[in-house]
Symmetry: C2
Subunit: 206 residues, 2 copies
């Protein structure tokens, strides 16, 4: 899948080096954006040379693609830890609390890694856009699974569209994360969760 595959074979050391570069690049891009992050920045922060970057990646776009994959995976993992075992409405609040703590603890939210990328390059690169949409869909499918679980055990109205409900929840979170990043306050994200969970609660069976 990756352009690298046809070039060389990576050793264990190479795999680790590559992962470190992607990790560092993801951090820089998260805080400064794709355009504002130069390869020189990545080199300096990861203590690597230009040859290394072009040994592991065909160009900057390739590196960015890897960063998107990493952020999508990380996002998936974080939410999966809390959404996978949802059986009651209270579990949704636990999920909310965990995410809220995570973002407030990190000294003011820096926004959603995936959302930031979406905003910046979904209009520039179609392949990147598709890749990010896939990340969102994976995330959304986790929420769908949680909704279906609630429907299955009689907590939630089984006639409503779990997919649309999940999409709305994701929309709320994205808005909350963007506004929290902008206002440097966790409040918007809190309001987003409250609204999203209340939205789900509208279809709760007593």
């Amino acid at each position: 899948m990756s352009p690298r595959d046809t070039e060389t074979t990576l050793t264990a050391r190479g795999i680790a080096m590559r992962a470190r570069i992607v990790d560092v690049a993801a951090g820089l891009i998260y805080s400064s954006g794709v355009e504002a992050t130069s390869l020189d920045d990545v080199m300096a922060a990861s203590h690597t040379s230009k040859s290394q970057l072009y040994h592991y990646f065909t160009n900057k776009d390739d590196l960015v693609r890897s960063v998107i994959s990493l952020q999508a995976q990380r996002t998936f993992d974080v939410h999966n830890d809390h959404l996978a075992a949802v059986v009651t409405m209270a579990d949704l609040h636990l999920w909310r609390d965990a995410i809220l703590t995570m973002y407030s603890g990190a000294g003011g939210s820096g926004g959603c890694p995936l959302g930031s990328l979406a905003n910046e390059i979904s209009g520039q690169s179609e392949t990147a856009r598709v890749q990010i949409v896939a990340g969102f869909e994976a995330w959304q499918s986790q929420i769908v699974r949680a909704m279906r679980a609630l429907q299955a055990n009689g907590t939630l109205d089984p006639t409503i569209d779990a997919s649309e409900l999940a999409a709305a929840v994701l929309v709320a979170l994205q808005g909350g994360l963007l506004m929290s990043k902008t206002t440097k306050s966790v409040k918007p994200l809190e309001l987003a969760f409250e609204m999203a969970i209340a939205h789900i609660g509208r279809y709760a069976l007593t």
Copy 2:
């Protein structure tokens, strides 16, 4: 307020020229972002020369500040047309329909001009961030006014915090606009409105 003020005085022609440059720059930045829009791009699209840009603006940041002001004002005006005279819940649906039509008509949403700017530069320039936050607050105050109107005429529970409710609505819209831009579909924005209005509806008095 603007850095230009201390330099020269603008004639009517100069004011028009300056406005045209800001307008063109706003369009380019809206579709490509701040970093990806060069002054050469602005020159080409507005048929101006470099001297003109530096005659009307001290530097690129100054131009960007003007673009932010313009977009904040435009956003304010668009929503004001529909929110200023809200007296019933049905008026909120008219507002939703108008905005939805506006974004779907433009061949796939390009996102919120203010939200896109917020995402890209709120982490880079503190002054820009503050300026954008002010734009959001003005927008939010329109929603607050609409909520207060509904509370005043007995449509909405007067004990709830109109400010928090408005903030949640704004969060939903931002999320919807971002997701619509990313997925190239109006659906997320529709879901955002539906959720936001339902959220308001929870506090409606029968």
